[in-house]
């Protein structure tokens, strides 16, 4: 899968060959995460737990909404479709998710590196790619979660846009919105890139650029239409989210802070997400000073801040993995060798602890 997608990506996005150091850091991060997961529960495949079970359920049995109960329409369809394809190729359900995610991460890191080099510089691209590969919460990239696939699509869509391959960008942006809700925010950087190229694009390409900007919304509409077809409820995913305790409200952010002491009493692990939330805010501020394009910043801020409007901080740490400005900012703050080494070492230690926490709490 990897070799084939590498070829396609190279042809479509004119990528330079995958650097060896990138493969090395990918391997280091995966060895640490998978090794810790196996050491933690050698008989149970820890990386297939939590949401992974729900994605597998969708892949195997399709969607079903049970009102008032946690149901699977809350889990977007692209990842289960890929799981199903892998299973049809003979890969067992338990292995398909982690296999897909780990391989997709390698491709995702390569595209992320190319994207960052295009926007900033090679040294910053190198540092931010390494940080993403070994980030404390990057064990999610090894789990049966769609984050790795989303990273591939997110980086591919924006890189294709920067290379003026707008139809490819539209395809990737649409697919990204079918993998995770964060894909919707891709419209912002794509709009920024389209605006910056407006003078140089011929009319047909301008149409393609517009298609890429609206592709995430169009793809999300297709998910609603599909749910309407099979469950007779186009908003089944929103209903299911409610049963998971997620419902967008204007006063949600206030509720998240007001109910924080209760939430911490109920589940002390929330402190992890609160710490990451404030850390991400600081990194977004630093990303602004680094000269990150404003619409990229807006997308990053939406990924980090909007979830608290559901009234809780849960999983914000994981959501931040899909906000590139955070990693650009971290790389921008650690230009000297010493601070780079500190961040790498600290990340690896926290990656071990984070993976170990999987036995107790969802990411």
């Amino acid at each position: 899968m990897s070799a084939r997608s590498n070829t396609v990506a190279v042809q479509g996005l004119a990528l330079s060959p995958m650097p060896r150091w990138l493969v090395g850091w990918w391997a280091v991060g995966r060895l640490v995460a998978i090794g810790t997961a196996l050491a933690l529960k050698p008989t149970v495949w820890t990386l297939d737990l939590w949401d992974g079970r729900w994605y597998r359920m969708v892949a195997r049995d399709g969607y079903l909404l049970v009102p008032g109960r946690q149901s699977d329409p809350a889990f977007f369809p692209l990842y289960p479709i890929m799981l199903r394809a892998l299973h049809a190729a003979g890969v067992g359900w338990g292995v398909a998710g982690p296999l897909l995610s780990n391989l997709a991460l390698l491709l995702g890191l390569w595209l992320f590196y190319a994207l960052t080099r295009e926007i900033f510089s090679e040294p910053l691209a190198r540092r931010s790619t390494i940080y993403l590969a070994i980030f404390p919460l990057s064990y999610v990239f090894s789990m049966a979660y769609p984050e790795s696939v989303e990273l591939v699509l997110l980086a591919a869509a924006t890189l294709a846009a920067l290379r003026k391959r707008w139809w490819l960008a539209a395809l990737c942006a649409g697919a990204a919105a079918l993998a995770r809700p964060e894909g919707l925010f891709l419209a912002l950087p794509l709009a920024g890139i389209a605006w910056s190229q407006r003078q140089s694009l011929p009319p047909v390409r301008r149409g393609a650029a517009l298609a890429a900007v609206i592709a995430p919304a169009a793809a999300l509409t297709s998910y609603s239409l599909y749910l309407d077809t099979v469950l007779h409820d186009p908003l089944a995913w929103s209903q299911a989210e409610r049963a998971w305790g997620r419902q967008f409200r204007i006063e949600g952010a206030h509720r998240a802070f007001a109910h924080l002491p209760t939430a911490l009493g109920h589940n002390p692990w929330v402190v992890r997400d609160v710490v990451f939330f404030f850390g991400y805010l600081a990194l977004l501020y630093a990303a602004r000073r680094l000269g990150t394009p404003p619409l990229w910043l807006a997308a990053g801020a939406a990924i980090v801040v909007l979830p608290i409007f559901t009234g809780a901080f849960n999983s914000i740490g994981r959501f931040g993995l899909l906000a590139p400005p955070l990693f650009w900012s971290l790389a921008g703050l650690t230009r000297d060798k010493r601070s780079e080494r500190i961040v790498r070492s600290l990340s690896l230690v926290l990656l071990v602890l984070g993976t170990a926490s999987l036995a107790y709490v969802f990411p």
Partner: protein, 201 residues
Amino acid sequence: MTASGWALQSASLTPPEPADRVAANASAWLYQYRMVVDVFHFDHRRKKGACLRGWFPGPNGKKTRASLLSLRRGPVLRVSDNRRLSLAVERRGRHVPGRILALAGCSGELLRVLAAAAQGGGHLTTERSYAANQPTIALELKHGKKERLTLYVSPRLYRPLVAIVATDGHEATARLYLSRAKPHLLARFHLLRLAEARRRR
């Protein structure tokens, strides 16, 4: 993009099984109505009762999610979410198979069992049938050789009408009347005081 996305999902994902869909639709009714007025038939006896779902104080005084099943001229039973049965109000009378009655006549219990079966790939089957003086769909859930739950639902709206539970040689039938928890109904089944205790705490 919308059309191709829809086509991709339709071609790649399986639609839910008809029996799972019936179970999910019946669950929607059970979720909406937290009170059920029941007419039970068990051990050659006919007994009226009502079941109320909510958060009620347990034996240790702590509020947990539970159902209160009150039988006319009988005890009020408390069935917690982990299926533990306790007496909420004791009254003299003949022994009643509380666990089976709760499973047949409480929306919370039926909802839990049906949803788990539909989502967990339980052995659910459907067939056309007749119950409560009307054509129905019989949704049957088998667990092992001796346990069986049959829920009869209306064919168009999937509203639960009758539930039959058979387990360990006992069988209970409940005619289900899904109701709003109104004070006069709660009072008639001695649940008003318990429901108010829930609100006060």
